[in-house]
């Protein structure tokens, strides 16, 4: 097999040609003597095990303690991590990663290709019972579905160590975004010896061995998690930061107070407070795109209401949603009104022209009324629907507003507030009519959103469209899959499987002495190795 050396991004090839760039203060900045950074955690970190974690905050911690094949640069593009480069075969099915020989675990052992083989098998192995085993399937790694189901042995997974520093991964289908997927924390390596010796306890402070730029020094569940610079990290010479700490504060407003008191270096801004904070602290308040999309899902399954099977009704409900009110009056944090599903800032994504996005709200309402009347609903036969949302202050505000928007349309909405687990349980068993839903990207590419609405996707509303499925199948081998993505979004605007409402922004306060946190990465992943504290 002739291997074709391919560099997907300029950043990656630059990483080859140049040594890693040292983190350096800009002109006029003086490094502080105390190189520490304290970030905010809303909740307790479930685990520091990359294969057992399932939440965003856990990934933030894991990304400091472990390092995958590739990292993300400040804009989210893949750059060398443990791997310095990779080759892709002509059939686009075999990736060969070349690992840097100087990569070490925090106990001094070398990081080898076998560590990745062990780790990916562990992730897929049903015995691990990882909540993220499906990620191996999403990556199209050979035999992943069968391994996850327990039909094949983990040893049959399409990953092998050619030698200590060469890793070969076989895919079942060309996956253009594969390099972006290996920046996901569930693909990170874990140290086999330690995991096998310590069992479930291997992630405790004092036992945990990682290959990231930091090591775990303490973890008080629900209070704080502390990490120190790892001297064995291959690029330790270029890491300025010495200590990082995640403080759990369950209340966002208290967290903001503690930020102002100097106890935290970064915190989320509670909904509605961005405009005033932005005025008061223009150099600290930020609002940057964040790869999640929010909307109301329609239940189109057999268990769903008859009315929603009529596309005119779905369109009417989407048109009547006053997105500007939601973003400008309720959230007020720079979120964008949404008329489609994929987040607008996803790399390479081209927004299609969506007719109703260009209309005025008055036009939309008029159109919505006409469509609803056409579908046979009116004052003598009002449409009644139940809107389910999970407990959260913002979800509630938006739902209450939606109730009013739909009243103008003559639709009676009954609100049904349930806790998260009940909400999820009902979504999964199609036991709802309309439900609040949000989706966050697993990797920086539109398919992470669009795959959701495939007939085989998670698709809790059971939307089915053969044309949509076909486009996404084609996208996998297309030269530029964004053509198919744009067309697929067109179908969503025509078929309206949900009411798109808004697209997220990350609305945070960042201390003005902390530099190097990425503000242009729509995934909002950050690495403490790239940040530093300056003297004020």
């Amino acid at each position: 097999m002739k291997l074709n050396r391919l560099f997907l991004t300029t950043a990656l090839s630059m990483g080859l040609a140049l040594p890693a760039l040292a983190v350096q203060p800009a002109a006029g900045e003086k490094l502080a003597a105390d190189q520490s950074y304290t970030f905010w955690l809303l909740d307790a970190i479930k685990t520091a095990d990359p294969h057992k974690n399932s939440d965003v905050e856990g990934s933030d911690v894991i990304r400091q303690l472990f390092e995958g094949l590739l990292n993300e640069d400040a804009k989210g593009a893949p750059v060398p991590g443990v791997a310095t480069k990779f080759d892709l075969s002509d059939d686009k099915l075999t990736y060969t990663f070349h690992l840097r020989p100087e990569a070490k675990w925090s106990n001094g052992d070398p990081v080898t290709a076998n560590d990745f083989v062990y780790s990916w098998r562990r992730l897929a192995d049903p015995a691990t019972a990882s909540e993220y085993a499906w990620f191996m399937e999403l990556m199209n790694v050979e035999n992943a579905p069968a391994v996850v189901k327990g039909e094949k042995k983990p040893e049959e997974l399409g990953i092998k160590a050619v030698d200590d520093h060469t890793l070969e991964v076989k895919l079942t289908a060309p996956t253009p975004y594969f390099p972006k997927m290996v920046t996901h924390s569930s693909t990170f390596p874990v140290p086999q010896k330690v995991v096998e010796a310590e069992g479930d306890n291997w992630t405790q402070a004092g036992k945990l061995v990682g290959n990231g730029a930091f090591t775990l020094t303490s973890h008080d569940l629900g209070v704080q998690i502390s990490m120190d610079k790892n001297p064995n990290y291959w690029d330790a010479a270029n890491v300025v930061m010495e200590h990082i700490k995640g403080l759990t504060v369950n209340d966002n407003n208290v967290a903001l107070t503690r930020y102002k008191a100097g106890e935290l270096d970064r915190v989320q801004i509670p909904a509605g407070q961005y405009p005033s904070l932005e005025k008061e602290f223009p150099d600290q308040a930020i609002s940057i795109p964040y790869s999640c999309s929010y909307g109301y899902l329609f239940n189109l399954s057999d268990k769903g209401p008859e009315a929603l099977k009529d596309v005119r009704v779905r369109k009417a409900l989407s048109y009547a949603m006053q997105r500007d009110v939601v973003v400008d009056k309720i959230l007020q944090g720079g979120q964008k009104p949404s008329y489609n599903w994929t987040h607008w800032a996803i790399e390479g994504f081209q927004m299609p022209e969506i007719d109703y996005a260009a209309w005025s709200q008055a036009e939309r309402l008029e159109k919505a009324k006409a469509l609803l009347a056409e579908a046979g609903y009116g004052p003598d036969k009002p449409l009644k629907l139940v809107l389910q949302y999970n407990t959260d202050e913002n979800h509630k505000k938006i739902a209450v507003a939606a109730q009013q928007f739909y009243k103008q349309l003559g639709v009676q909405i009954e609100l049904n507030n349930v806790e998260w687990k009940v909400h999820t349980d009902r979504l999964q068993s199609q036991d709802f009519e309309m439900a609040r839903y949000a989706w966050c990207a697993d990797y920086n590419e539109a398919s992470t959103f669009l795959d959701y609405f495939r007939s085989t996707g998670m698709n809790y509303g059971k939307f089915k469209n053969a044309e949509f499925d076909k486009l996404l199948d084609e996208s996998k081998t297309a030269a530029d899959p964004n053509v198919q993505y744009t067309a697929a979004e067109k179908i969503i605007a025509e078929e309206m499987p949900l009411v798109p409402i808004y697209q997220y922004a990350k609305v945070d306060m960042i201390s003005d002495v902390i530099k190097g946190l990425p503000t242009e990465n729509v995934m909002n992943d950050w690495l403490a190795k790239d940040i530093y504290r300056i003297e004020k």
């Binding site: 049903p126 209070v223 208290v254 102002k260």
Partner: protein
């Protein structure tokens, strides 16, 4: 008395068993489970998780195994949500925290509450009384979820005297203690005042005064003891509530106490942690209502068990 204590302890065991069975059933009746999450897990993984945590067994078998684990090994099982923690570890980390701030808050609430109540009763309808009653009503109507953020705002942001949260030395205890104790203090003051007023009007106090005893002797020796009876019956459950933590205190001050773990475990369907804390609270409640009964007999010689 000894027989009474033994009898009560004997009843405690079936009570706890009943508590375990009922909680177990209620918990499993709630929709969703510990492994319900946004992306539905493949059946194979659910089966593995269920097998790992023994959830694949019939419910009665799970209860028997669970109780056996506690009785034989004092093992409350692994957390279903935090893979590297057991319930014993979670309680061992969180309970000392709530015990510390809850215990101090209890002492503070009793000392201040009883003093306020007694003073108010002795000086009934004077400015002292009005001040004491006013303070306690003020403390009662200011719920701790309002007070906690205000405390952080004043003492952390404005004055910079206290850390805004976390857990460590005594400096971290102050705000949780204040936030937790005020409403209890107010209730204690109110109960003490009304009960003291009642006692002060009774015959044996008139007799004591007629004998020419000094006012301080009348109050401390003859009035206070009987006046405290209703306070004590309030203190038993209040003590357990305080030392097992307040979810509000834990949330606002990030103490890592078990109050927060309890609520989290219910929302996360972390069955084992939820059961562990339920049993802890249940056992403490039974224990301290027994302590209250014993104290009753000690204070009031008329009471015989």
């Amino acid at each position: 008395m000894f027989g009474f204590i033994l009898r009560r302890l004997a009843v405690a065991i079936p009570t706890l068993l009943l508590l375990i069975v009922l909680s177990f059933l209620l918990m499993h009746a709630a929709p969703g489970g510990p492994f319900t999450q946004e992306r539905a897990l493949p059946p194979q993984i659910i089966a593995n998780l269920n097998a790992k945590y023994g959830l694949d067994e019939p419910l009665w078998r799970q209860i028997v195994n669970y109780v056996w684990g506690i009785v034989a090994h004092f093992d409350f099982g692994p957390s279903f949500v935090y893979p590297d923690r057991t319930v014993n570890q979670i309680i061992a980390a969180g309970f000392p925290v709530t015990l510390t701030y809850g215990g101090i808050a209890f002492v503070a609430a009793v000392v201040v509450g009883v003093s306020l109540g007694v003073t108010a009763a002795i000086r009934q309808n004077t400015w002292v009384d009005y001040l004491a009653v006013g303070t306690s009503i003020g403390a009662q109507v200011l719920p701790n979820f309002v007070m906690a953020p205000i405390l952080v705002l004043v003492f952390t942001l404005w004055l910079g005297w206290l850390p805004g949260g976390g857990w460590g030395g005594p400096i971290f205890w102050i705000m949780p203690v204040v936030a937790l104790s005020t409403s209890f203090m107010a209730s204690i003051a109110r109960i003490t005042r009304s009960s003291m007023l009642e006692v002060l009007g009774s015959n044996h106090i008139r007799t004591a005064r007629a004998k020419g005893l000094s006012e301080s002797k009348v109050i401390l020796r003859h009035a206070l003891k009987p006046a405290l009876l209703p306070v004590i019956s309030y203190l038993g459950p209040a003590f357990v509530t305080m030392i097992t933590g307040s979810v509000v205190v834990d949330i606002y001050f990030s103490t890592g106490g078990i109050g927060r773990s309890f609520v989290d475990s219910a929302l996360n369907r972390d069955y084992a942690v939820m059961m562990g804390i339920t049993i802890l609270v249940g056992a403490l409640t039974i224990l301290f209502s027994l302590v209250v009964d014993v104290l009753y007999a000690w204070i009031d010689p008329k009471i015989r068990y």
